[in-house]
Amino acid sequence: MSSPDTADGQRLITGAEALREAMDQCMAADDRVFLMGEGAADPKGIFGTTSGLVETYGPDRVIEMPVAENGLTGIAIGAALMGRRPVMVHQRVDFALLALEQIFNNAAKAHYVTAGKHTVPLVIRMIIGRGWGQGPEHSQSLESVFAHFPGLKVVLPSTPRDAKGMLIAAIRDDNPVVMLEHRWTHYTTGDVPEELYEIPLSGPSHVRKGNDVTIVATSYMTYEARAAVDAMQAAGVSADLFDMRVLQPLDLGPVIESVRRTGRLIMADVGWKSFGAGAEIVASVVEQAFADMKAAPVRLGLPDHPTPSSRSLVPDFYPYSGDIVAATANITGAADRLGPVVAALAEARAQRPVDVPNPDFRGPF
């Protein structure tokens, strides 16, 4: 993972800009690529990620959808079966709940059931909402649900560089690819190459190297984990951090190797913990690295309740860097050294509003 906080001589753009650029370049390079979305051609361009494309490519390639997620997903699948390369975008993953039959049956299974004769080169971008009181139905995550159905690739880029490279790889991939974008990752800035490049849709990215504990994070939790790791570093605890940016196909090789070395595993899920992606990751790692483990694995994730709207109810809902350090303290026995780190992170957090990606953010959506 490239470090979004480096600067000199680099090309710093936001996650949203990176996605827009990927789309633009893919549409320029391949005229089979087209875009569909509610808002894809509107003045706000899906949080800026599709802005300007309709002006360049016209309304036949940037299709403003009726509000009909299930039907339009099937339509995208049909076009994909005919060799087109649709990219569909939902402003909230929650809207795609209406389209799951199409996604899980026609998209995920067409290649398998035809013994390889059909392909569905479809990308579905979906945004995970968080903050500004979106409430329970504009904030779900669902990566473990998508990952349960064989035949779908499931990716969650967290940096602008990954967002661009993975979207390009997804569009070029012959499989249906579900891409979950945490809304706050649209606002992060990072160094992004100008050219067309791919980040392969396999394996985690190794964000930080260390020896005392292995931390695996998904999506936005990578940022919280990175903050945790960097804070612990100063206190002499070193962590191996993986951004599990691809959940299907699931390549846990590097994580297992790491856990064999560190003996300890902390999983930080962006979605609900129960029956979440981390459950699979923890279960798989333990199945394979049990003999080398020195402590019970720990999962962090959203507790078993819907997302409340009120900002007063979310501080304990969304785990943050301090929770990751606290978990590390528990399982490494470094509580002495890490106690002050937790305190400092908690203090810093108390200064920031919990419901915005950055202090300038003002809703309303």
Partner: protein
């Protein structure tokens, strides 16, 4: 001819909703204390007033993301709504829902849902429940013009038709889904054709004329209560402000200023005010007094909300299961 008291009540209701929503808009970014999306109905008040004043308290309504007006017109508690916007404990959802999850059981506001069209079948189910319970109550489903693009509208309409349920679909056609105009989303045919295709009675009304809406609803309610089944009412109207949020957004260029002005010149509140004045039912002084009373109510409600406690974070996990 509508009873003069009702004509005045319609005006009062619209004025109140208008002033409440304008207060929400004015204060939204003033101190950023209402930290949830808000979808204002300013410009569309004739629909909520005309429909809800033709209902009984025990009739049920369901609505959408744009539901403040429906909630208020049906008798939903103002304090509870503003507390909900502020994420406060006395909110109708205890701060858990925000503006897109309003309900008030006492007033017959059964639910609102932020997912387009998601509350439509729930309203039909409420009608089924009323019928099963032997009540002569009716259920009203408020929906936007985009929600008929969702398949679930059709599934719901079909079932309402075959079971002759006491439900009224009120489609507020404000010509847009967010920034996308109707003609990019639907073919050029009367929207009421959808209702007829499902064997439903339908009526089209000027959605900025509260009395027209009231009359249409009264007819549909009578049909429903008599056991003769469902009606689809199409109310043409227009949203004045941005899709979501407190501001105007004509600068985005997705609609023309002429169109906007044309609709604004047909302000539903003004139209009724002039009508009442012409009919000598409302004098300027009484009108001012009404506005002042409402302004006072609003100030008190905001005071209440701003001073209300936040929910205790330790309760965040309560009520997952009954």
């Amino acid at each position: 001819m509508i009873d003069p008291a009702v004509r005045l009540a319609l005006y009062r209701d619209m004025l109140r909703v208008r002033l409440i929503e304008e207060a929400v808009a004015d204060r939204y970014h003033l101190d950023n204390e209402m930290r949830c999306p808000v979808h204002l109905s300013i410009g569309q008040e004739a629909v909520s007033a005309g429909v809800c004043l033709a209902l009984r308290a025990d009739d049920q309504i369901v609505t959408t993301h744009r539901g403040h007006a429906h909630y208020l017109s049906k008798g939903g508690d103002l304090n509870a709504m503003l507390c909900e916007f502020h994420g406060k404990a006395p909110g109708c959802c205890g701060g858990r829902g925000g503006s897109m999850h309003l309900f008030d059981s006492a007033a017959g506001v059964l639910m609102s849902a932020p997912i387009v069209a998601s509350s439509i079948p729930v309203g039909v189910g409420a009608a089924l429940g009323l019928k099963q319970a032997g009540s002569d109550g009716v259920a009203v489903v408020f929906l936007g013009d985009a929600s008929v693009e969702e398949g679930v509208f059709h599934e719901s309409a079909n079932f309402a038709a075959i079971r002759k349920l006491p439900v009224i679909f009120v489609c507020e056609n404000n010509l847009f889904s967010v920034y996308t105009p109707l003609d990019q989303r639907q073919p050029d045919r009367p929207l009421t054709d959808l209702a007829s295709a499902h064997g439903l009675a339908s009526l089209q009304v000027d959605g900025n004329d509260c009395e027209a809406v009231y009359n249409a609803t009264a007819r549909a309610v009578a049909t429903a209560r008599s056991g003769a089944g469902a009606t689809f009412i199409l109310a043409d109207t227009y949203r004045w402000r941005e899709h979501c949020g407190p501001y105007y957004d004509n600068d985005l260029g997705y609609r023309s200023v002429e169109e906007f002005e044309r609709w604004r010149s047909r302000d539903p509140v003004d139209m009724q005010r002039r009508r009442l004045a012409d009919g000598k039912l409302l004098e300027a002084a009484a009108d001012e007094k009404l506005a002042a009373e409402i302004a006072d109510e609003i100030d008190r409600a905001f005071d209440f909300a701003l001073n209300a406690p936040f929910p205790d974070p330790r309760t965040a996990g309560d009520h997952v299961f009954a």
